[in-house]
């Protein structure tokens, strides 16, 4: 369309002009609509891909937080070891005291050894208790984290569903709009030819009428679509915000395990200390056995050595536990962090798609705008048509099939 039409002789020029204008707009709009639609689709599709990838990653790294984890089971083992060691140590201490009494304990240092054994035993059982408590806490925490995790995964899937639907709607809307724009463009091309005529032919009038009516209907349905889409996207965005929140929460809960790990470390220190003292004790017991030169006492020093070995085993087990826990902790925390980030990004993208309303240039949010513009144009067209009909009616009387001018 290059030049605007000359005003037509009868009232037709206004309609014609209107039609012309509408045709022009329609043409432009169709381009915009196509573009917008494409952009919206891309954005949504991109969001969907991102979501899918986030979901996959999440599912791939899911296992670490399993409350039935080996590490918590092993903690129970450790606690049992320590407890056992403690009760055997008590027995040993008594044995040593008995032996000391029988030998009169002339400076054999046996009493000291017995005291040391007792003290070690006390520490050992305290240690066992601590390990048990820690295990319980860890298990609880892990259980919570796990349910948070699975909750997050479920929600992510739901979000995916919503986005897919939004995508569908967008495609639908874009398609409809595109079609309509095509028709309008054709008509606009047609009207250009006819604007110079003074009067439109009946067919043309009918065509114009039909078009106008169709435009109105379409406007309504597009309106609905737009609303639906809008609503859906709002929903998605709302949920995304929630889930992002949730993911961040999970992340911080898992981070809180750092505290537990520190406790682990303290426990490790304690068990290592016990192991060290047990080792010393075993050596002292050996020395005492040599001094005492009583074969029975060698059995005690053997026992002390065995205790020391068990203490070492406990320390080793605790070290392993600590290692495992750290290994478990960092990746899960990282995984959840990634998910949170992914969700945040998704949210941002979708927000972009929804866009700000009323923007005039073809930003992603312009799709809504394009629809609204189309609607307003259709309204204007309807008005123009109504006016034109009134005029032509007044010229030729009502024609069958015309919609009621007062509607």
């Amino acid at each position: 369309m290059t030049d605007s039409p000359e005003p037509s002789p009868s009232g037709a020029p206004d309609l014609a002009a209107e039609l012309y204008r509408w045709g022009m707009r329609a043409d432009a709009l169709s381009g915009v609509a196509r573009e917008q639609g494409a952009r919206a689709e891309d954005a949504l599709r991109g969001a969907l891909t991102l979501l899918k990838r986030t979901l996959e990653d999440a599912q791939a790294s899911a296992p670490p937080i399993d409350p039935g984890d080996e590490s918590t089971l092993r903690m129970e083992e450790v606690s049992q070891l320590a407890g056992e060691a403690a009760s055997r140590a008590d027995l040993l201490a008594l044995n040593v005291l008995v032996e000391a009494a029988r030998l009169g304990d002339d400076d054999h240092g046996l009493e000291q050894i017995a005291q040391e054994i007792r003290s070690l035993s006390g520490r050992s059982s305290r240690g066992a208790q601590e390990v048990e408590d820690l295990a319980a806490r860890l298990r609880r925490g892990l259980g919570e984290a796990r349910s948070l995790w699975t909750g997050t995964l479920d929600n992510l899937e739901a979000v995916g569903g919503a986005i897919e639907e939004a995508l569908r709607l967008t495609a639908q809307a874009g398609h409809a709009l595109s079609e309509a724009s095509e028709a309008s463009a054709q008509f606009a091309a047609g009207t250009r030819v006819n604007t110079t005529q003074r009067a439109w032919s009946g067919t043309e009038q009918e065509a114009a009428t039909r078009l106008a009516a169709a435009a109105e209907v379409r406007g309504v349905s597009l309106n609905h679509l737009a609303e639906a889409l809008s609503k859906r996207l709002e929903e998605v965005n709302g949920r995304l915000t929630d889930y992002t929140q949730l993911a961040r929460e999970t992340e911080s809960r898992i981070s809180a395990f750092e505290v537990h790990l520190q406790e682990h470390a303290r426990l490790l220190q304690a068990t290592t200390e016990i192991a060290r003292r047990a080792r010393q004790l075993a050596i002292n017991a050996d020395l005492a056995a040599l001094r005492v030169r009583d074969p029975a006492f060698e059995l005690f020093s053997d026992e002390a050595r065995r205790l020391s070995e068990r203490a070492e085993a406990t320390a080793t087990a605790t070290t392993e536990l600590l290692k495992n826990a750290s290994e478990v902790h960092a990746p899960s925390r990282d995984a959840v962090h990634e998910i949170a980030e992914g969700l945040a990004e998704l949210s941002r993208k979708l927000h972009g798609v929804l866009g700000s309303t009323g923007s005039t240039h073809p930003a992603p949010g312009g799709l809504t705008h394009a629809w609204r513009a189309d609607q307003s144009a259709a309204r204007q067209l309807a008005r123009a048509r109504a006016e034109w009909r009134t005029e032509t009616e007044s010229q030729r009387g009502p024609v069958e099939g015309d919609p009621d001018p007062s509607s």
């Binding site: 027995l91 008594l94 008995v98």
Partner: protein, 147 residues
Amino acid sequence: MSARAQVLQVEAAGQRFGIEVASVRALDRVQRHVRLPGAPAYVAGVVEVQGQAVALIHLATRLGLTTVASAAGLPLVLIDSEEPVALAVDRILDLIEIGDALSEEDSGPMAKPTSACLGTWAGLRVLDAEAIVDGRALDPLPVSDTP
């Protein structure tokens, strides 16, 4: 060398007894044991302690206080004797030092020595370990009302 003697306190059938430390060879726990056929009822079986197989006597049953249920897992006192014999008790408490001699003047039926009991010291009945493990018949112990 101390002039005071030491005694190992144990608990059997809810009552406390003492065993002179001179009779105690070792303390342990009943782990593996087997039934000893043909032995008296108070012999709970045979255990392995410190590399030897020894007979296991359930102290409470031997003293006539109860009948043995199972000796598994109970703490045991290895009694030094011509042959070592293990005594299964309910709990091993602690070593205490007691006075120069058992008092004969403690009042009450509890204080009287019996074939099983050397005497009493501050309410603690000190057992004659040798008598317990050599299988002779024992006088019934008076039941104490304080544990």
